[in-house]
């Protein structure tokens, strides 16, 4: 069943939804990256909630004019309009009043959504029979998706993606360093507004599939996931688009494979699964990598301290140090150093002395800054420099009784 869904064998509607969700996921992942790097991820929450009154008003206007109130293009146009108004309100609140951005986001979100709920109840009492579809915009409803709806979503997603690609460079510059961008003469305010406009476009396109409450997840989770895997912004954009598209595709397929699996939430949960995997398994920034790095560091410290202790003839009691030394064949089980152990510990002590001289010498100031008690001195000084330092330490001297 799942395999059928993954290979798009599960009927017309499921195929439409899967294609739409994939495109939506790619567009949302790519657009969301700029929002995330600009550290304004939650602005999308306000924008998406602000679409509700527009959807309702569009329905009322279309129904009043005698048309079909559920025309998707009309509803999406209405939602875009009210999301734009919400965005302008939020910008005005943050730039003209003392409110911080989070308060502006929260107030726009709750007020627009509350007003939308009022309009929803008005529509329910209007007595127009075919209003049932509107609640579907809250959480998305893919059951009755038509060919035309899928086309609207696909075209909207593709157009958004093309626009993002067109203005990705100025957006990236603003996301990283708005002051520098302003100094270069870029219109930072307008680029920000364009970024939000693109986010709004993704939100509007996604209303039908994942709904206005959960579209935020598609804009936030893939970029956060992608950030774990790379330090390069263009790679973040690519990986984020890929993760978003894959989540959309897998989620749509999963939800088609069994009853009672709503598409929107499943897509979000698949996306979250990718995030959780990345959080733990990513090569450099992941939790597992950090734990491994810590263990390796701990071992190096213990090893180094153990060797120094051996060189100075001290007995080692610390169990981890003993175990490490024994495993490396440097001490015998009773704690007495082997021949290699003696050689390595003598070298460690000499290195420590070399470092001491380097750190006391003004001429080696830059090198001395690299000292952390673990670094091998051969990695920072040439053989000649080490020989020079060794001359200052001097060779072993005869001890006269």
């Amino acid at each position: 069943m799942l395999w059928d869904a993954l290979t798009l064998q599960l009927g017309y509607n499921a195929t439409l939804v899967a294609i739409g969700a994939t495109l939506l996921g790619i567009a949302a992942g790519v657009t969301g990256t700029f929002l995330f790097l600009r550290k304004r991820a939650l602005v999308s929450d306000a924008i998406s909630h602000a679409t509700l009154p527009g959807v309702c008003l569009a329905f009322m206007v279309m129904a009043a004019l005698g048309g079909d109130g559920r025309n998707l293009i009309g509803l999406l146009a209405g939602s875009a309009l009210s999301a734009w108004v919400g965005l302008l309100c939020m910008n005005w609140l943050t730039s003209r009043t003392r409110l911080a951005e989070d308060a502006a986001i929260g107030s726009v979100l709750s007020v627009f959504f509350g007003f939308g709920v009022v309009l929803l109840t008005v529509i329910q009492t209007m007595g127009v029979g075919r209003q049932a579809g509107l609640e579907g915009f809250l959480l998305g409803s893919t059951a009755g998706m038509l060919w035309a709806d899928a086309m609207v979503i696909a075209a909207g997603g593709a157009a958004t993606l093309a626009l993002v690609m067109l203005i990705r460079r100025p957006m990236m510059l603003v996301a990283f360093d708005p002051e520098y961008a302003a100094a270069r003469g870029l219109p930072v305010g307008r680029i920000d507004l364009a970024m939000m406009g693109l986010v709004m476009a993704v939100t509007v396109v996604g209303l039908k599939i994942v709904g206005l409450i959960l579209i935020v997840a598609l804009l936030i989770i893939p970029p956060v996931t992608a950030r774990f895997w790379t330090e390069r912004s263009d790679h973040v954009v690519l990986i984020s688009g890929f993760a978003g598209g894959l989540a959309g595709y897998l989620g749509a397929a999963l939800s088609a494979s069994a009853p009672n699996l709503p598409t929107g939430p499943i897509i979000v949960l698949v996306s979250f699964a990718f995030f959780a995997l990345s959080l733990f398994l990513a090569p450099v920034r992941g939790v597992l990598a950090a734990v491994l790095r810590h263990i390796r560091f701990q071992r190096r410290v213990h090893m180094r301290q153990g060797l120094l202790a051996l060189a100075q003839g001290q007995t080692i009691y610390e169990p981890l140090t003993l175990r490490l030394l024994r495993r490396a064949g440097l001490v015998r089980p009773d704690g007495v150093p082997t021949e290699t152990g003696k050689a390595r510990s003598a070298k460690a002590l000499r290195d420590e002395k070399r470092w001491e001289l380097v750190r006391a010498d003004q001429a080696h100031e830059a090198t001395a800054a690299l000292y952390d008690g673990l670094r091998d001195i051969e990695t920072v000084l040439t053989r000649d420099q080490i020989a020079e330092i060794d001359r200052r330490i001097g060779g072993p001297q005869e001890v006269r009784p």
Partner: protein, 309 residues
């Protein structure tokens, strides 16, 4: 309108609305000042999986398990946000966005998977509550307020919301000085021995309690609106915290009363027949108040600091 009609039908929803609004607005003042306003948003989203899990475990729609479930989910969300923020070195806004959307999606999925057709539990109810249905059928007029028999039939949400409000007031009153100091100058608060981490957590937990109790009665949309709009509007009116809190209470009560009245009677005045959603209308009114204060409030503009947030 006579007491015989007003007391049973409108008094209790109105009081519950006012209590909920004030209980959310009080901690909201500190959250807005600390730039944590969206915690309320996050909490109100994760309440849904909390109550669904509580329902699955107990099998009944009862107040206490659900409130416990919701509170548990809220605390879990706060812990997860903090963990993701620290483990993944992700900025707090994005961490919050990841956690609450995923938990909300989980809640919706659980709800769809379980058979809740026999009970009243759905997403719409969770979002915008049902303030209008909290009526007091045993009352027959103002005299019922003194009648113990009729008082026993009060909707349970009213005393529960009242207790929550008292708790919030007590919390704010007892911890007034530390809260005020740590909100404005965290470094100074630490040097005089206030444990700011603990205090911050206590504030979030208090907000969660207010949110969960209010959510049970009026839905999450009021919760978010009341956490942010009245304090934000009050912020435009004054530069003193004491007055800001007083203003926020005034605004919260004003939006609750005007919203409820407009939702109930507004459509009738306009020639309609049915009421519209009271919760949505209260949120809308709080937004109108915020818009007015943002346009005309005496302390609306930023002084000193540049506009970059």
């Amino acid at each position: 309108m006579s007491g015989a009609e007003f007391v049973p039908l409108s008094l209790t929803p109105l009081l519950i609305g006012i209590f909920a609004a004030v209980a959310c607005a009080l901690p909201g003042n500190f959250l807005v000042l600390r730039k944590q306003a969206l915690i309320g948003d996050a909490i109100s989203h994760v309440v849904l999986p909390g109550i669904v899990v509580a329902f699955l475990l107990t099998g009944v729609i009862a107040a206490w398990p659900m409130m416990l479930g919701a509170a548990g989910a809220a605390i879990l969300a706060v812990v997860l946000i903090e963990a993701i923020r620290r483990l993944g070195k992700i900025e707090p806004g994005a961490a919050m966005g990841v956690v609450f959307t995923a938990m909300f999606a989980g809640g919706v999925l659980l709800l769809e998977q379980t058979d809740t057709s026999t009970v009243h539990l759905d997403v719409e109810h969770a979002l915008y509550g049902n303030l209008e249905s909290l009526i007091w059928l045993d009352a027959s007029g103002w005299s019922s307020l003194l009648d113990p028999e009729a008082l026993a039939g009060l909707p349970v949400e009213l005393p529960r919301m009242g207790v929550t409000l008292l708790l919030v007031i007590l919390f704010t009153w007892l911890l007034w000085r530390p809260l005020k100091i740590s909100t404005f100058d965290e470094g100074y608060a630490r040097t005089i021995g206030i444990r700011t981490n603990l205090l911050g957590l206590a504030l979030v937990v208090m907000a969660a309690i207010a949110a969960v109790a209010a959510f049970d009665a009026v839905g999450s949309i009021i919760v978010i609106a009341m956490f942010i709009c009245p304090p934000a509007a009050a912020r435009m009116m004054t530069n003193r915290l004491e007055r800001q809190i007083a203003w926020s209470v005034v605004f919260a009560v004003a939006s609750a009363v005007s919203g409820y009245v407009l939702a109930g009677y507004g459509p009738l005045w306009l020639g309609g027949t049915d009421a519209v959603s009271a919760a949505g209308m209260i949120a809308t009114m709080s937004g109108l108040i915020l818009a007015l204060t943002a346009r005309f409030g005496p302390c609306r503009s930023r002084t000193g600091a540049p506009s970059q947030a």
